[in-house]
């Protein structure tokens, strides 16, 4: 780890994790804790025979099924974690280039041998790859504990629990799909990431108001001046929930190299370039 941390880019990613551990680590941990306590409360309230029947039913349903086929269905369980991840990512991106200007730590970071481009790129990689990694890790611990508890309960009620092993395998496979979905969704949302970072680097105060206000203003201006709605059409064309989810491992390559994805990355790169240049100015 020490050798890895000596690589400047890895050190930057590590810095992001340390400075934003509340958003990336504690937020999913708290959600998992709340869900775990809620599930335990539900089980404690239910009659014993109903609990044993439910565990047996669960075990029989999943017994012998292929994890790859069940995994997309189990992705539903990760939805609350993904919602929390995106909310945290929004908060993080709006403050990413704003906070260090506010507390003047930007002066220290700019004195280090790190370019503005590397700094901005580290924010993007943090949102795309590092933050989903922590969410998925928390989910892995949550699934393991939940299935361990179910197995122990099943053994205590003398119920067949072999099928729960298949459920666990399917849950693990679904975590890979969840991670890939989060990663590709961030690339798909690269224009939004670029937009938020641009206004995070620009605004002297209230970056969210700047980002939302200018976006709405540009939409109206386009309609008013040119009578066209390309911006609104473009946003709407990227708003289908299916575009954010990966149900099959073979979908990844097709999704990553599709025209819409690459064009989105290009547009996002323009905005990121603006954010990199904007970082020259410190108030």
């Amino acid at each position: 780890m020490n050798r890895l941390a000596s690589i400047p880019f890895v050190a930057l990613l590590w810095r992001e994790v340390l400075e934003n551990r509340t958003l990336f680590i504690w937020a999913p941990v708290m959600l998992a804790l709340v869900l775990f306590v809620f599930a335990a409360w539900l089980i404690s309230m239910a009659p014993n025979d109903q609990v044993s029947i439910s565990i047996q039913y669960l075990s029989e349903i999943f017994d012998g099924l292929s994890p790859l086929e069940i995994a997309p269905i189990l992705m539903i369980l990760a939805v609350p974690f993904m919602v929390i991840l995106y909310v945290c990512a929004l908060i993080y991106l709006l403050g990413a280039l704003y906070q260090d200007r506010k507390d003047l730590s930007v002066l220290f970071w700019q004195s280090m041998p790190i370019s503005n481009a590397t700094t901005v790129l580290s924010k993007v990689v943090t949102v795309a790859a590092v933050a989903p990694f922590f969410s998925v890790t928390v989910l892995l611990v949550f699934y393991t504990l939940a299935l361990l508890c179910l197995t122990l309960l099943g053994v205590a009620y003398e119920v067949q629990v072999a099928g729960l092993g298949y459920l666990f395998l399917a849950a693990l496979t679904s975590l890979i799909l969840v991670y890939l979905s989060a990663f590709t969704a961030t690339l798909w949302l690269m224009p939004t990431v670029g937009w938020l970072l641009l206004f995070s680097a620009f605004a002297r105060r209230a970056p969210f108001l700047w980002a939302a206000g200018v976006f709405i203003l540009i939409g109206f201006l386009e309609d008013f001046l040119f009578g066209s709605q390309y911006l609104a059409n473009w946003v709407e064309s990227r708003a289908n929930p299916n575009q954010y989810l990966i149900y099959n491992l073979s979908d990844v390559t097709e999704r990553m190299f599709s025209y819409d994805m690459l064009f989105g990355v290009l547009v996002g790169s323009i905005l990121l370039l603006g954010a990199i240049f904007m970082r020259r100015f410190i108030d």
Binding site: F202, A232, N233, E236, G274, M278
Partner: protein
């Protein structure tokens, strides 16, 4: 080139303006070239049909009916 660079990178506002202009230019050009139209949000499921275009059709039909009513009222008054 250096003059353009010095103008564009003069302050925060010129950078913002240049970035947003380039962003809009690329988007509008691509939209015009590909004839991009909004893909309607369409949830396919066995329980109900939801298609945003249905709402637009509904709005259009309502507007046409309103216009018809207005014309009928006008002719009655006259």
């Amino acid at each position: 080139m250096s003059l353009l660079k010095s103008i564009l990178l003069r302050n925060r506002f010129t950078i913002l303006l240049a970035t947003l202009s380039l962003y809009m230019l690329v988007l509008v050009m691509e939209g015009a070239l590909t004839g991009r139209e909004a893909r309607v949000i369409d949830f396919e499921n066995p329980f109900f049909d939801l298609n945003i275009r249905d709402f637009e059709d509904f709005q259009d039909s309502q507007r046409n009916e309103d216009d018809k009513d207005f014309l009928t009222d006008e002719s009655t008054i006259l």
